[in-house]
C-alpha cells in the first residue's frame, strides 16, 4: 500500500469519516478534526514509519493533499 493510501487509512480511522470525505482538497477543519485527532494522526503516522513530524511545518500545509505530500517527503527523507 502506498504512503498516500496508508495516511488516508489512518485519517479515516481516527476521524471516523467515510472515504469520500478524505479528499486531497479537504482540510482537517472540513473533517471536523480537533487538535486531539490531529495529534493522534501524527502519532500514528510517526509510529507507522518511524519518523518524527514537526508541527511547525504543518502551518504551511493547506489541505489533506498537502499533508500527504508532507508525510511522503518525511518518509523519503528518512530513506
Amino acid at each position: 500500500m502506498s504512503v498516500e493510501e496508508e495516511v488516508k487509512q489512518i485519517i479515516r480511522r481516527i476521524t471516523r469519516k467515510p472515504d469520500a470525505e478524505i479528499a486531497p482538497e479537504s482540510t482537517f477543519a472540513d473533517l471536523k478534526a480537533d487538535s486531539l485527532d490531529i495529534v493522534q494522526v501524527m502519532a500514528a503516522i510517526e509510529e507507522k514509519y518511524d519518523i518524527e513530524l514537526q508541527e511547525e511545518a504543518l502551518q504551511h500545509v493547506k489541505n489533506l493533499g498537502g499533508f500527504i505530500a508532507f508525510v511522503e517527503k518525511a518518509v523519503a527523507d528518512k530513506g
Binding site: D34, S35, L36, V39, E47, E52
Partner: protein, 279 residues
C-alpha cells in the same frame, strides 16, 4: 541548569523511570536523579530526537540511560515500557509519573474522547505504571506523581486536566496505603504555574494573561520540582506517605491565583485545544 545536591549521590545503584522524561519538567527530573547517581529510563510519546538528546545528556552525567517510546493511553504500550526497563536494568527503584496531556476546553465543551484521553494518560497510566513497577521494586521503592494545582483550583479551560490531576492525587493516597507493607512510598507534587515550555504553549496558544509571580518572588522552575522529587525519592522521605506536596512559592495562599472566569481567554471556542503533549 541548577542541579543542587549534584555532589550528593543519593541514588547510586538505583534505577529511576520518568514518564515524559524527554522534555520539560520530566527531563530536568531525569537529569537531577542521574546527577545523583541513578541509572535512568525515560518514556516518551512522539519526540524521538528530544529523547535521544536526553539520553545523551544522561549518559554524559555517567548514567546508564534508556529511552522507550510509549503511548501511555495504550495499556499494552505501558507493558512494553516496563519490559524495556526490566530487560535493560532488571529492577526499578523510583517511578516518576510525570507525563501529562490535555484538551484545553471548558467542561461543557469537552467530548467523551477528550475526557477519556486526558484521564487515560494523566491518571490511569499512573495506576498501570504502578502495577507494572511493583514487581520490579525492592523494599524502599518510591513512586512520585506530578500533579498540579489545577486539581483543586479552577483554571480556564483546564477542566479535563484538573479532574485528571485530582484523580492522580486520590490514586496516590490509595497506592501509598496499599504499597506501604512492601516498603514503597508513594507521594505527589502539585506545582503551581511552572516556568516551562508547556506553560508557554498553554498560555500562548490560548492568549491567557501571564500568571502572577507568587509570594516567594519568582516563578516555580522545573528545577524546584526536580529537587523536591529527588527528596521524595530519597531515604530521608521514608515517612512521607500518600501526600500531595504543594510547590507553588505560596501562590495558592493568596488571592493572586490563576486567572478567574472573568478573565477567560478570548475566543475560547476557537482556541486550539490540545498541545500538552504527554512527554
Amino acid at each position: 541548569m541548577r542541579l543542587t545536591g549534584a555532589m550528593e549521590k543519593r541514588f547510586e545503584d538505583k534505577v529511576a523511570l520518568i514518564t515524559g522524561g524527554s522534555r520539560g519538567i520530566g527531563r530536568v527530573i531525569a537529569l537531577k536523579l542521574a546527577a545523583e547517581g541513578a541509572d535512568v529510563a525515560i518514556g516518551y510519546y512522539r519526540k524521538k530526537s528530544a529523547a535521544a538528546a536526553a539520553v545523551e545528556e544522561l549518559e554524559a552525567l555517567g548514567a546508564r540511560a534508556l529511552a522507550v517510546k510509549a503511548d501511555l493511553a495504550e495499556p499494552e504500550k505501558i507493558v512494553e515500557l516496563f519490559d524495556g526497563v526490566r530487560e535493560r536494568f532488571g529492577r526499578l527503584d523510583v517511578l516518576v509519573s510525570n507525563a501529562a496531556t490535555g484538551v484545553a476546553r471548558k467542561a461543557m465543551e469537552l467530548t467523551d474522547r477528550h475526557f477519556d484521553w486526558t484521564m487515560n494518560v494523566n491518571a490511569r497510566a499512573f495506576l498501570l505504571c504502578a502495577q507494572q513497577a511493583v514487581p520490579l521494586m525492592p523494599n524502599g521503592g518510591r513512586m512520585i506523581a506530578i500533579s498540579s494545582l489545577g486539581s483543586r483550583l479552577v483554571t480556564p479551560v483546564y477542566a479535563a486536566v484538573g479532574v485528571s490531576k485530582a484523580a492522580l492525587e486520590g490514586l496516590t493516597r490509595y497506592l501509598a496505603v496499599e504499597l506501604a507493607p512492601r516498603g514503597i512510598a508513594v507521594n505527589a507534587i502539585a506545582a503551581g504555574a511552572v516556568e516551562s515550555e508547556a506553560l508557554r504553549l498553554y498560555a500562548g496558544r490560548l492568549d491567557l494573561p501571564k500568571p502572577p509571580v507568587p509570594p516567594a518572588g519568582r516563578m516555580v522552575l522545573a528545577e524546584d520540582i526536580a529537587d523536591l522529587a529527588a527528596f521524595l525519592a530519597s531515604d530521608a522521605a521514608e515517612m512521607i506517605r500518600g501526600q500531595t506536596i504543594v510547590l507553588d512559592g505560596g501562590m495558592s495562599l493568596t488571592q493572586a491565583q490563576a486567572p478567574s472566569e472573568a478573565e477567560e481567554p478570548r475566543e475560547p471556542a476557537r482556541a486550539p485545544e490540545g498541545g500538552l503533549d504527554h512527554e
